[in-house]
């Protein structure tokens, strides 16, 4: 099935586009999607280990299955301003 993934912030910048469509074999999980994204867009690979994914606007884990027609988004680490460590 085709999964359209919205890309934000650094993910959009590194990919050079705001969304990408990936072809995956059902049933597919977020882990499968990450693997496919790294192959489709190698420039995204450095961001993927720390990037969270959302399915229908809820954070998903690697083993969550992506339903047909779901809204999927890549959520790079969030910062409205991090505190000094």
């Amino acid at each position: 099935m085709q999964v359209a993934v919205q890309l934000f912030a650094g993910a959009r910048q590194f990919a050079g586009k705001a969304s990408v469509i990936v072809e995956l074999i059902e049933p597919c999980t977020i882990a499968n999607l990450k693997t496919a994204l790294a192959l489709a867009i190698p420039a995204l690979a450095p961001l993927l280990p720390s990037t969270r994914f959302a399915i229908n606007m809820e954070y998903a884990s690697d083993d969550d299955t992506i339903p047909q027609g779901a809204e999927v988004a890549a959520i790079p680490p969030v910062s409205g301003g991090s505190e000094p460590r």
Partner: protein, 145 residues
């Protein structure tokens, strides 16, 4: 009120909106654009949101905060788009019967917003370089968009 806006934020109006005769304490936090980060000079910032999910997460945090503290009224407004030095990026305003709970709720909301709400910051440095701020990621010099 919970909102994401591209317009300048009127923090006084937001603070006023949470005042109530039921509250003896109003705590307002403003996040503003800082010029220096570990010695590096910022020229301006840009915030980007995943708007629908950001609003959903803000609403969820408001519900959670109301479970944890006796909040009378709360307001969260986050700005997106380009911001100049000193401008207000975010306001969290909380009113409660007593001050301790208002400080705690306001701090928890702001800290948690930075962890879970999909809003990102891009630093445009004074030296002409720029980068999306993704803590824990060594993105290195970003390609030009």
């Amino acid at each position: 009120m919970i909102a994401i806006t591209r317009e300048p934020i009127d923090h006084a109006a937001i603070t006023e909106s949470v005042r109530s005769n039921l509250a003896g304490a109003v705590c307002s936090f403003l996040g503003t654009v800082r010029e220096l980060t570990q010695g590096k000079q910022t020229s301006s910032l840009e915030y980007e949101a995943y708007p629908a999910m950001a609003l959903k997460k803000l609403e969820e945090l408001a519900v959670e905060a109301r479970h944890r503290w006796p909040i009378v009224t709360l307001a969260i407004v986050h700005r997106v788009g380009p911001l100049e030095l000193g401008e207000i990026a975010v306001v969290v305003a909380v009113s409660c019967p007593h001050r301790g709970e208002s400080f705690e709720a306001c701090k928890w909301l702001m800290d948690t917003i930075k962890e879970v709400v999909p809003i990102w910051k891009r630093e445009l440095w004074a030296d002409g370089t720029e980068e999306w701020v993704h803590p824990g990621v060594a993105t290195g010099p970003a390609p030009v968009e």
